[in-house]
């Protein structure tokens, strides 16, 4: 059958009709796939460009540091930006030890067994809980049961639960990237497992670990749904707005974007929203760049290779 199609070796026959249409299909689909990938990049650039155009006008020193206004135009988002960072740091303080600890345990200590499966399954389940549902859980425990009302700590603890699985996975992957030879060398010199982990493995993994943590931090910075009912959607006005007390209401920038639009009390709500969106977008880019650059630098400095 096939031989009949291309009976002689002349070039014309080696390229029969059927072969030509298959070649065309191959080229066509290749083009489709390239178009699909490129369209996504174009989309991203479109978003960034659009938001820059819309929000750039709103950015000013006053906007970035001033207080929000209850009903007049010209409010700023200073306290909100402060709260975003405050809650981020608080969340990381709570999450990192636990997530890294569990990650180290699963990766370096636990054999395969029911406990390991249970922890792994719990992490996967926590990871799939929608953020709004976690926010409701935070509402139930911290705001209602503990009677804290809206607090930065409540928000941070809720975000902790939300991000434990992500940071644990970051830890596991970072540890997995460390070559076994390091482990063997250390144990062979008589070190205990914990000493090995602390002095050899974790330092070697610091590059990918940092990259992963900074990327997760970027996502924490933009979290909204879990914070609306735990850290609140308002700030106290006046001098106490830049408040280091973790038990005060703490609206973050992302929540502010939403609440400003929702309440629409101030005449320049759209402009504030655009400005907030732009700041958030810029922060995402910054977090991404920092994650890569710092991560790579740490790896180079430590291991001498890129």
């Amino acid at each position: 059958m096939a031989r009949a199609l291309i009976a002689t070796a002349s070039p014309e026959k080696l390229n029969s009709d059927r072969a030509r249409s298959r070649r065309l299909l191959d080229k066509f689909m290749t083009g489709v796939l390239w178009a699909a990938a490129s369209s996504i990049i174009v989309l991203l650039l479109l978003f960034i460009a659009y938001e820059f155009v819309q929000g750039w006008g709103a950015l000013s020193w006053h906007f970035l540091t001033g207080y929000p206004s209850a009903s007049d135009a010209g409010g700023g988002v200073g306290p909100e930006i402060f709260n975003s960072f405050y809650i981020l740091i608080l969340t990381l303080i709570f999450t990192l030890p636990i997530a890294v600890g569990a990650g180290v345990y699963l990766q370096e200590y636990a054999g395969s067994g029911r406990f390991r499966d249970l922890v792994q399954f719990s992490a996967e389940s926590l990871a799939t809980v929608p953020s709004i549902v976690m926010g409701l859980f935070g509402l139930l425990i911290f705001v209602q049961t503990f009677h804290w009302h809206f607090t930065a700590v409540g928000g941070a603890l809720t975000l902790t639960l939300l991000n434990l699985p992500a940071l644990m996975r970051v830890t596991q992957e970072a540890l997995g990237s460390v070559a076994d030879t390091y482990r063997e060398a250390s144990m062979g010199l008589g070190a205990t497992k914990w000493q090995t982990v602390l002095k050899v493995i974790l330092p070697s993994a610091i590059g990918p670990l940092t990259t992963g943590v900074v990327l997760v931090a970027g996502r924490i910075f933009g979290e909204t749904a879990a914070l609306v009912f735990t850290a609140g959607a308002s700030v106290s006005y006046g001098a106490s707005a830049y408040d280091f007390n973790p038990f005060h209401t703490a609206e973050t920038l992302a929540v502010h974007l939403w609440s400003t639009h929702r309440e629409a009390l101030v005449p320049d709500a759209d402009q504030i929203a655009n400005g907030s969106a732009l700041v958030l977008l810029i922060m995402v880019l910054v977090f991404n760049v920092v994650a890569r650059v710092v991560g790579r630098q740490l790896t180079v400095r430590l291991t001498g290779k890129a």
Binding site: A36, A99, V119, I132, L136, A191, W194, V228, A254, W258
Partner: protein, 293 residues
């Protein structure tokens, strides 16, 4: 060799082990608490207020002022928006995953992949805002409607699940052994034929996991959909009319719901429903992964 130093090291080791195990236990306790609290509060509507479960799930009448808590409008909204996102974003994500795994030269991938990671990092509220300011007016102009609704929500969700589907599809394809690519090429197949007839079928369970995770992401998304869906409380009759989802309804009404009211309990029930759907999706993923092995 027993010495003071060795003893201390061993003691540290034991303390460290206890600490590490405690960290791991927190995960288990955490999910247990979440499940417990939500199950407890999510069933108050049925056990305390004696509202019918069937009415809650299947009635299209939602009127909180008149004690009607049929959640069908929101269930339908969530399912339809998610369905749209999967139908559009699923194949697109797999296609780009195929692109990265089989087609993209290293230099191109090195530029495109960080861009996709930026897409992951964009907060959902910003996606919602972009949808509201960019997409909704566009739909309004093209279709001569208000603009908000399931079409806007579906499109926004498609974009948001893309990074997940792309990265999992790429992983699934990379795991397929190279010997299969060679074998197919040696039989005279074109690259597209190898991709469509050998690689994608071979990677099917991994691709399924990507799609399922995309579904999980879409159905749990709150801010992005709330801003573009429009906040109606009726079952949507078209993709161009305002609608609502379980998530958007929760975030909109929870603030005003009085403590202990049936409305608040109904919202908790919706949260419990979301949680249960997520759990089911995890089980599906495990099933798909087991099929691969």
């Amino acid at each position: 060799m027993v010495g003071v130093r060795a003893n201390k090291a061993h003691r540290d080791e034991r303390i460290a082990l206890v600490f590490l195990i405690l960290c791991s236990v927190i995960f288990v306790v955490g999910i247990g608490l979440v499940l417990g609290y939500l199950a407890w509060n999510g069933t108050k509507l049925f056990f305390q207020d004696h509202y019918s479960l069937l009415t809650f799930l299947f009635s299209p009448d939602w009127d909180s002022l008149n004690n009607k808590f049929g959640a069908l409008p929101f269930i339908a909204g969530s399912l339809l928006a998610t369905g749209f996102a999967i139908v559009v974003g699923g194949p697109l994500g797999v296609a780009v995953g195929v692109f990265f795994s089989e087609l993209a030269p290293k230099r191109v991938a090195d530029v495109m992949k960080p861009a996709i990671e930026v897409l992951v990092g964009i907060p959902s509220v910003v996606y919602g805002w972009l949808g509201l300011t960019l997409l909704v007016p566009l739909i309004a102009k093209v279709f001569k409607v208000e603009g908000d609704g399931l079409l806007a929500g579906g499109i926004v969700l498609s974009i948001m699940i893309l990074p997940t589907v792309i990265s999992l599809s790429e992983d699934a394809l990379k795991v397929v052994p190279n010997s299969l690519r060679e074998g197919s090429a040696a039989l005279g197949a074109t690259r597209w034929e190898t991709i469509s007839r050998v690689l994608v079928p071979a990677a099917s369970s991994g691709l399924a996991v990507g799609i399922i995770l995309g579904i999980a992401r879409a159905i749990g998304e709150t801010l992005a959909v709330q801003l573009v869906l429009g906040n109606a409380s009726v079952v949507p009759s078209s993709f161009l009319k305002p609608a609502a989802a379980l998530t958007s309804e929760i975030i909109l009404d929870m603030g005003d719901a009085p403590d202990g009211s049936p409305l608040q309990h109904a919202l908790f029930s919706m949260a419990l429903l979301l949680l249960l759907i997520s759990m089911v999706l995890i089980v599906l993923i495990h099933y798909a992964l087991r099929k691969r092995a």
